[in-house]
């Protein structure tokens, strides 16, 4: 299996307001501050457009913009791979309420925002990029499922891929069925030929037997319930000092292994 390069990262989550901070938290230079609850602000979007974008999409796009800015690439040259286990739970809840209540009045805007590819849709609209994109789901393994698709784009099509993994806590009553206790969006720009020195080099393989991610100690138990948090052990290894093999849970009771070699 050939290697892909991690060019840049975007991140938004409790105590992880941006990649510069997250990187220092993951290397232990900064203490984790999970009580800090940053919100996406998206200065890249004109104000009227920012108002239209659902909250869930804002999380995904905030991370995506940060990763793109860190890569010195243009939006028009990267394919977006969006992956989420639960998608926009707020909208799903409101649609279910609407169609099972008496009037069955559905908001047309809410309906078109309910598609799983809303984030790539708004990404292309707001950046003007006509590049291809895809939206995926792999339940608890949604991060690994997205990573495999992104690696496929890089290796099979030599296309730089912007992987965005995002999940937010469900509202009630869905929250009782699916425990995601903290919000998180992570964006990773992967390519075969980095413009500048990459952060890390990854070789991704699938293997037999189950695996669960080994979360670094600074990742809170609440954050670890978010499927996107599977990116964190991989990022911690990528900014560490030595090469290591990072196990991730994949679907079907199998494991993904990412052989990680830091480049900086």
């Amino acid at each position: 299996m050939s290697a892909v390069h991690l060019e840049s990262v975007g991140i938004l989550g409790p105590g992880l307001p941006d990649w510069a901070t997250a990187r220092r938290v993951l290397t232990g230079e900064l203490p984790p501050r999970p009580e800090d609850r940053p919100q996406p602000d998206l200065p890249q979007l004109p104000p009227n457009e920012r108002r239209r974008v659902p909250q869930f999409v804002r999380w995904a796009l905030a991370a995506a913009h940060e990763a793109l800015a860190g890569s010195r690439r243009a939006a028009g040259e990267v394919a977006m791979v969006f992956s989420s286990s639960s998608g926009d739970g707020e909208i799903a809840h409101r649609l279910c309420e609407a169609v099972t209540s008496g009037g069955r009045e559905v908001s047309p805007t809410m309906f078109h925002n309910s598609v799983h590819n809303a984030a790539p849709g708004y990404w292309s609209i707001s950046t003007g990029s006509q590049q291809r994109s895809i939206a995926l789901c792999g339940h608890d393994a949604s991060f690994a499922v997205g990573l495999l698709e992104a690696v496929g784009l890089v290796l099979a099509e030599q296309a730089p891929a912007l992987l965005v993994a995002c999940d937010l806590p469900f509202p009630e009553p869905l929250a009782a069925l699916r425990e995601i206790k903290a919000p998180l969006a992570v964006a990773l720009l992967l390519s075969s030929s980095p413009r500048e020195r990459a952060l890390a080099r990854w070789k991704v393989s699938l293997g037999a037997g189950p695996a669960s991610a080994r979360f670094p100690h600074m990742v809170s138990a609440a954050l670890a319930t978010n499927p996107a948090a599977q990116a964190l052990p991989l990022l911690a290894a990528s900014v560490g000092s030595a090469a290591q093999a990072v196990p991730l849970a994949y679907v079907g009771g199998r494991r993904m292994t990412v052989e990680t070699t830091p480049c900086r």
């Binding site: 299996m1 286990s85 639960s86 998608g87 799903a92 649609l95 279910c96 309420e97 609407a98 169609v99 099972t100 069955r104 009045e105 559905v106 908001s107 047309p108 309906f111 078109h112 925002n113 309910s114 598609v115 799983h116 590819n117 809303a118 849709g121 708004y122 292309s124 609209i125 950046t127 003007g128 990029s129 006509q130 590049q131 291809r132 994109s133 895809i134 939206a135 995926l136 789901c137 792999g138 339940h139 499922v145 495999l148 698709e149 690696v151 496929g152 784009l153 290796l155 099979a156 099509e157 009553p173 869905l174 009782a176 069925l177 699916r178 699938l206 679907v251 079907g252 009771g253 199998r254």
Partner: protein
Amino acid sequence: MRPLFVTHYATANPLGLGRGATLAGLRERRGGLRPMDLDGVALDTWIGRVSGVEDEPVVPRLAEFDCRNNRLAQLGLRQDGFEAALAQARARYGPERIAVLIGTSTSGMEHCERAYRQRDPASGALPGWFKERYSFNLFSVADFVQRYLELSGPAAVVSTACSSSAKVFASAARMIEAGYADAAVVGGVDSLCLTTLYGFDSLDLLSGEACRPCDAARDGISIGEAAGFALLERHGRAPGGVALVGYGESSDAFHMSSPDPSGDGAYAAMRFALQRAGIAPHEVHYVNMHGTGTPANDRIEDRAIFRLFGASVPCSSTKGWTGHTLGAAGIVEAIICALCLEANLIPGSLNLDRVDPAFESHVAAAPETRNLRYVLSNSFGFGGSNCSLLFGRLA
């Protein structure tokens, strides 16, 4: 790209169960749409319903997955000898070397709607029988199919609205090319639910009759449900086998639910598919349009097709037969393309009285038998997600 042969395929769609029923419906010009007859739905529209989907629960070993969408998936998997073909493929490649990539827009949403109707009046809690992972979560259908077929390779749900089960072909091609699988089961499953029916109604996109793609008087879509699956392999079973020879993907970058009037995104997806195959436009013998039957979609698609193919290549939409099966539309129309390639049939159009006089491309109204070498299938979705698949019969 290196071609990927469509060695086996199966479908359950509004035209009936299996390839035979589907081809017969096309040939006999017998549509699968009917006036709305779902319990308690008072919308003045037509739907494409799969008969029998309510009757057969999923197999006991996967009972926790039981919901309309996974029943429909199972019904599709049981057609056309697909299970037996997969048993052979499993033995040949090993279960871990066959990917499962399934497109859906709503997965088990219908099951979730049932649960919402049974919320506890006091607490608002959902009923205990409702499990997020096995129905409502989008991945549920790929999880179900992978377990049903006893496979353990790469698996994912692709959910890009109405292009979902076209894009699974592109994802499968990448997965195989990158070395993560030797073969792939691609498919799409979407079942009727209140959310899509009332959602498209809120956008004023539902036709009051059976949809009439490309007709001057077309006025919207008819929503259908369907399941379809195909096994993609590097090698064909016999000369003349149908293969995926190209795919193209793009984004409109225009609007979440309205197609870009310029048609640039649709044009780019078609052009990329031809480029990837190294095929010139005149070598394409038929274009199966996305052709939903909305005024905007068909007008814009006509323009994009004319720009690439001129007026020489026949094109038509088969949604007059099946309705718009949303996340399953890509695979249903890929299967129709495979059937048409094998039968040398251009299916023409259904419910088409008068082709929109503003159209410039060659809309095939009537069926035609002629030697087909390459056919193109278009799928476009909300979020401006475009995908074109090019299929050919290879020596």
